[in-house]
Symmetry: C2
Subunit: 351 residues, 2 copies
């Protein structure tokens, strides 16, 4: 580590959900990917872009996808930015919108990448526990004058949701920069995007990895005041989103029919899973995302995770206070969910 700087030496590594080499043999319910394939219209758009034009650099301004999203959401393209997944957008936010001596704050438990990115950019942060019901109490973020607050809404890994009016009450009182990570918002709605029209200190982020089944392509959006978007453009690499990802994201936004159909299926699969697991005695945290956070009085979450993995079913088990009391299960296809429920039933019968 002779050439590592202090920041790199001191940061913790972010560990993404496991992807075993023999992945295809698993039911994979551990990284909140969408169980349905990308829309036919998206695959078609991608196929149409598989040609000589790939020799050219992609559109560094991502104009098409920004125009479509802006049009659909009553915004200007100047309010929209495209990143190499929302992960890149968070990195840019830490690099450009908080001073090195600033302090950020995130709820706990939440998406642990925020911690990693803050560390990797030498930014101090504090974490504020969710309430006993795993809901977010935004007032707690007003006590100290944090320079930046990032919340995931719905929150990951809990699935809990904060109403827009509560976020609006908060932003009226909060003078720093608020980032609302809406990676999971599409499944049940309730976006805070409109707040961008009223407040210049809100950044909403979106992802194509979940509701659009495009985790493989890496596209995320940031929606914010023009000045923030200009800053993101200044900071980003010239060609941060590739040509196929841009084409796929544009096509995905336009296919509202497939979108609605997939969201509908996902919701009904979630209801089925919740019902069966409730019937088996699981406590399920109310979720507005494509996953549930759940626990059972008869088996520890670590045990359940291990036993499911032995049966080639991957769910997510996080270490650390509060979150280690639960497992997180992504919503799969009906076949995957039924199989999972049956395996869980057997496991419970044996403990």
């Amino acid at each position: 580590m002779k050439y590592w700087n202090k920041t790199l030496k001191s940061m913790d590594e972010y560990i993404p959900g496991e992807q075993p080499a023999d992945l295809d043999e698993y039911i994979k319910l551990n990284t909140n990917e969408n169980p349905f394939p990308p829309f036919e219209s998206v695959l078609k758009a991608l196929a149409q872009n598989l040609n000589g034009s790939l020799k050219r650099y992609p559109d560094s301004k991502a104009i098409k996808v920004r125009e479509i999203f802006a049009e659909q959401n009553g915004l200007k393209p100047e309010n929209v930015f495209a990143g190499n997944g929302s992960d890149e957008i968070f990195t840019l936010i830490f690099r450009g919108f908080i001073e090195k001596n600033g302090i950020a704050a995130f709820p706990y438990p939440s998406y642990s990448l925020y911690d990693t990115l803050a560390q990797s950019n030498g930014i101090k942060f504090e974490k504020i526990n969710l309430g006993a019901d795993l809901n977010l109490d935004l007032d707690k973020f007003l006590v100290k004058g944090y320079d930046m607050v990032i919340i995931a809404n719905p929150n990951n890994p809990t699935g809990t949701f904060t109403e827009k009016n509560k976020i609006k009450e908060f932003i009226k009182k909060y003078k720093g920069l608020l980032v609302v990570d809406e990676a999971y918002i599409d499944f049940y709605g309730g976006s805070s995007i409109d707040l961008v029209k009223e407040f210049d200190n809100v950044i909403v982020t979106r992802s194509f990895s979940k509701s659009y089944s495009l985790a493989g392509l890496r596209v995320g959006l940031a929606i914010a005041d023009e000045e923030i978007i200009k800053g993101l453009f200044k900071l980003k690499d010239s060609y941060n989103v590739d040509a196929l990802a841009l084409a796929g994201a544009s096509a995905a936004l336009l296919d509202t029919k497939s979108f609605n159909y997939n969201i509908g299926m996902l919701r009904s699969n979630k209801e089925y899973l919740e019902e069966r697991l409730s019937g088996l005695g699981f406590e399920i945290v109310p979720s507005k995302a494509n996953f549930i956070f759940t626990r059972h009085p008869k088996i520890t979450p670590g045990d359940l995770y291990e036993k499911l993995k032995k049966q080639k079913i991957l769910v997510r088990y996080f270490r650390g206070p509060i979150q280690s009391d639960y497992v997180r299960i992504s919503i799969g296809t009906m076949m995957e969910i039924k199989k999972t429920c049956t395996v869980i039933e057997t496991i419970l019968g044996e403990v």
Copy 2:
């Protein structure tokens, strides 16, 4: 700019080569893209990956492309890292391998993105002029104890090349971190990759945008000592290169036949361009890249650029000392080059 931090406020924006909206009407010789389409084998591999698997996150370790490159170059996969274009790799290098009070150094003129990235990460840097013949004198980088030196080899925009043994002599004496940007090395060979096997303070970067005609897909590689590669992995976003880009890059590396064929065509187009322009009285800097840096006693470079643009031919004209004495012309297809030469001939006849 209320929410911009000091770094963002003070940095200059990197301006990539222009991409006019009516691009297809232009002969585009301004951003060093490859004039030939991606290999058939690459388009086929991409088509094979247009399926449901795009709903999954890509391989965060980029194992396949790293294994192939390592195997082809007598390295271990642990010496190879894949980034979202080599641009991302430079960003990560600035973030992880130089302290905030360190000083970097680059030749001038060279790839101006180094300046932008240093600024955007709050790193001070100095620039050391190339010699009168536009060649690099590495000894000048030994006078001060720079923490990091980045050179492009061949250099951009000059096309000038530094022999590996000169770089080796330098690295024997230099104690900081040396980054050798080999985005253009494939066209004439002479890589410094082998130095990675001997020295733990060399990072060589590669791009798929030029020699592999994949600028649209965004893949770059870093080759370095294992400890450096580990640091890059720790710092990068989990899924920094998308699934199609990974598939395309792997297929590109394996198709050495198409690679050699395209390189051969490009070289002979370059010879043709050099011969015709020499015949017209142009002074051409000896180039080992897929572009030439050239000037003519009868017309200023700014004038030539403007007049070519009016004829729908884009070449690159840089402002700033030394480099504003020349235009940079990327090597196009034979048809593009012939047309360009004819237009230049007419322009020269009119001045």
